[in-house]
Symmetry: C2
Subunit: 404 residues, 2 copies
């Protein structure tokens, strides 16, 4: 193995459901030198990251921080810290990542009640409320933008429904944050978590997370202090404890908060990356970034229809940043993807479970939510399929936006 050289990746344009190309400024941030874990610069950087993610999540929550892991680490941190064994959870479920919430909650020992709709649709709020009223769960958990189907569940109103019935509302907004409207406080959410590798334009490996005061209270009711950190034993008998140390949000809050009580060793380079992702978004303006994703998503959709491809799912509820199209009959979907990658350096995706091999998923997000990557992708896909009309249709859509 001593003949291996430094890492030298090929150049790719990542136009799938994510991860996507990281913004070069985010990559550069990761090359910055490290400082110690309790260096004044470190604590200042953590505080800046908290403040920036408050803007991104649109919240005043003091408890806004990063989990050192990928997006699903954020999901698990929320669920394992809030849910005790036996607690009831309602999960509206319309794609793979809804199923993931169900599974993680079950592993926490929770009793999970699913509200299912067919893939390609979203869940009517009335149906969710009926179930919530009936089972009175501790938490409602949802993935509003589920990339497996590319549907985007409206959340406005769901917070009020949950609170009317004494439930907390949690959303995994990994795939949608920064590219689709999201209002933590105005919509009444109690917990949200995300990742960097979608509209935030960073690498996977850090999970921004925010908790309302009510969610913090639910976590604190289950918290303990780590053995070996203070004299004497932990403050709570094992049976009641949060089942994970790494994801114990009580401890992580003590690390990020004014007590600065040591927990894990913060992943400094990923902290730098996460801070830069949020900084770029805040400098652009979150609403502006969402609109940019909307415009480029619309052009991509128009272009794919221009290639005579049929869009998948309920178009009234499509995510801005990723969409799915049916693979035409007689076309080998994986062969097309392979040729796109090998000949044109462009990656698009397929999907999971019932949609595997039936749809392609094409994304335009982060630094790739710009006309050039969209048009380049449509041009290449047209060549591989032997079809034309994609670039023209997308261009017409951009023109219409510019001169409505």
């Amino acid at each position: 193995m001593t003949d291996l050289g430094p890492i030298a990746p090929p150049e790719r344009l990542l136009m799938g459901p994510g991860p996507i190309n990281a913004d070069p400024r985010v990559l550069q941030a990761m090359a910055a030198p490290l400082v110690g874990q309790f260096d004044p610069f470190m604590t200042q950087t953590m505080a800046e990251a908290s403040e920036l993610y408050r803007s991104v999540f649109r919240t005043a929550n003091e408890a806004t921080l990063l989990i050192d892991g990928t997006a699903r680490a954020g999901v698990e941190a929320v669920l394992v810290s809030v849910l005790a064994p036996g607690d009831r959870v309602v999960v509206p479920c319309f794609g793979r990542f809804g199923h993931l919430l169900v599974e993680i909650a079950q592993r926490c020992g929770a009793e999970v009640i699913k509200v299912d709709v067919p893939w390609g649709e979203v869940v009517p709020l009335g149906r969710i409320e009926a179930v919530v009223a009936e089972v009175e769960p501790k938490l409602v958990g949802i993935v509003p933008g589920d990339t497996s189907t590319t549907m985007c569940q409206p959340l406005d109103g769901l917070g009020a429904i949950c609170h009317r019935h004494g439930a907390l509302l949690y959303a995994d907004v990994t795939a949608s944050l920064g590219g689709n409207a999201f209002e933590m406080d105005a919509w009444g959410l109690d917990a949200a978590s995300a990742g960097l590798q979608k509209c935030l334009g960073g690498p996977s490996g850090s999970a921004p997370l925010t908790l309302s005061p009510a969610a913090v209270e639910a976590v604190r009711a289950r918290s303990s202090v780590e053995a070996g950190l203070v004299d004497g034993d932990a403050t709570r008998p094992p049976a009641e404890r949060i089942r994970s140390n790494y994801f114990d949000l009580g401890m992580i809050l003590d690390y990020w908060g004014p007590r600065r009580l040591n927990h894990h060793t913060e992943a400094t380079s990923m902290l730098y990356a996460a801070r830069e992702c949020a900084r770029l978004l805040v400098v652009e303006g979150v609403e502006g970034a969402v609109d940019r994703h909307r415009r480029n998503g619309a052009a991509l959709a128009a272009g794919l229809e221009g290639l005579d491809l049929r869009l998948y799912g309920d178009q009234a509820h499509r995510m801005h940043n990723v969409l799915a199209v049916h693979i035409p009959d007689g076309v080998d979907g994986d062969a097309v993807r392979a040729e796109l990658l090998e000949t044109h350096g462009i990656e698009i995706g397929t999907s999971f479970g019932p949609l595997h091999g039936r749809v392609w998923r094409v994304g335009t997000m982060g630094v790739n939510a710009r006309p050039e990557p969209v048009l380049r992708t449509l041009e290449a896909l047209g060549r591989v399929l032997g079809r034309t009309g994609g670039v023209e249709a997308a261009t017409a859509q951009y023109d219409q936006e510019a001169h409505p």
Copy 2:
């Protein structure tokens, strides 16, 4: 927040117990462009990382991979995947990180039997064997290099003891790997996990991990497939399942193995960093790197004694890469650390629990396991304390190594 600039850390020489300065080549690796999650380059890079860490851990284990999280994520992944509620675990405990193993195992629902010695000592193998013979645990878990006390527990012979009594042996070698001798296969270990931020010279945020075939079998006996990934429901009823999805090593093995079954989205930049850390170590030669840490640790120890500071703990079992010294009577330990940081840009540490404020911990590891950082630290510490003789004693030690 829109007036915040890009990240611009101050220059620090990190001579505490870790994290330490990352090798500039590792930081550079993180700035490399991303590729897709199933790009041939990505799977090749994952395979290279596995192979490189086999060399670092000195093992033939096929199951060698990275956990996307900090070092303690690796610890939790092993414990939650191997231990079912009610399983017995023996933990020889001689510092904070032994207590951490105890705590994580308890949160997994395991029954933990500690073998305690006073901080500053290591545990005689005979005492461990007596307990293992008595309680017949499923696993013995140990932190051979515990930075809280800087003691290094000998492991040679412990594998045979464990196997004689039907137990698996796991070691958290975060703080010691690459700087102290470690022989995964020759010493009969079944599981080991680490982090990048100590002797491997990288940032925190990725946890290399390896499992013997017997450990893989223990994990597979508890594995299931994620809901939403395949048609139909998960393959195992919830009650028996591994309690974590994120840390389910069965799933993570399926992601790293030939099936490439999607789990989390691999933290690509941290993968690049982890690969570069291991590559640099393998190019240097693992034994050479261990000897470099030994030589620089010995010079640091001599230099601190030259400053009339008293080394802490059992010197026959001191780690190569970090050591503790008693804070002299009448000296304000935190004030000295603050002046070192502010005036000289050098960070050293204190410790936890019973040792907090009683010792300083000084490390020489990774890129800082070289004479220049050692001498610079001794010079600065001497100035802050108003003492001399540190640089001279360290230099004499280096000379003695060079011309014995």
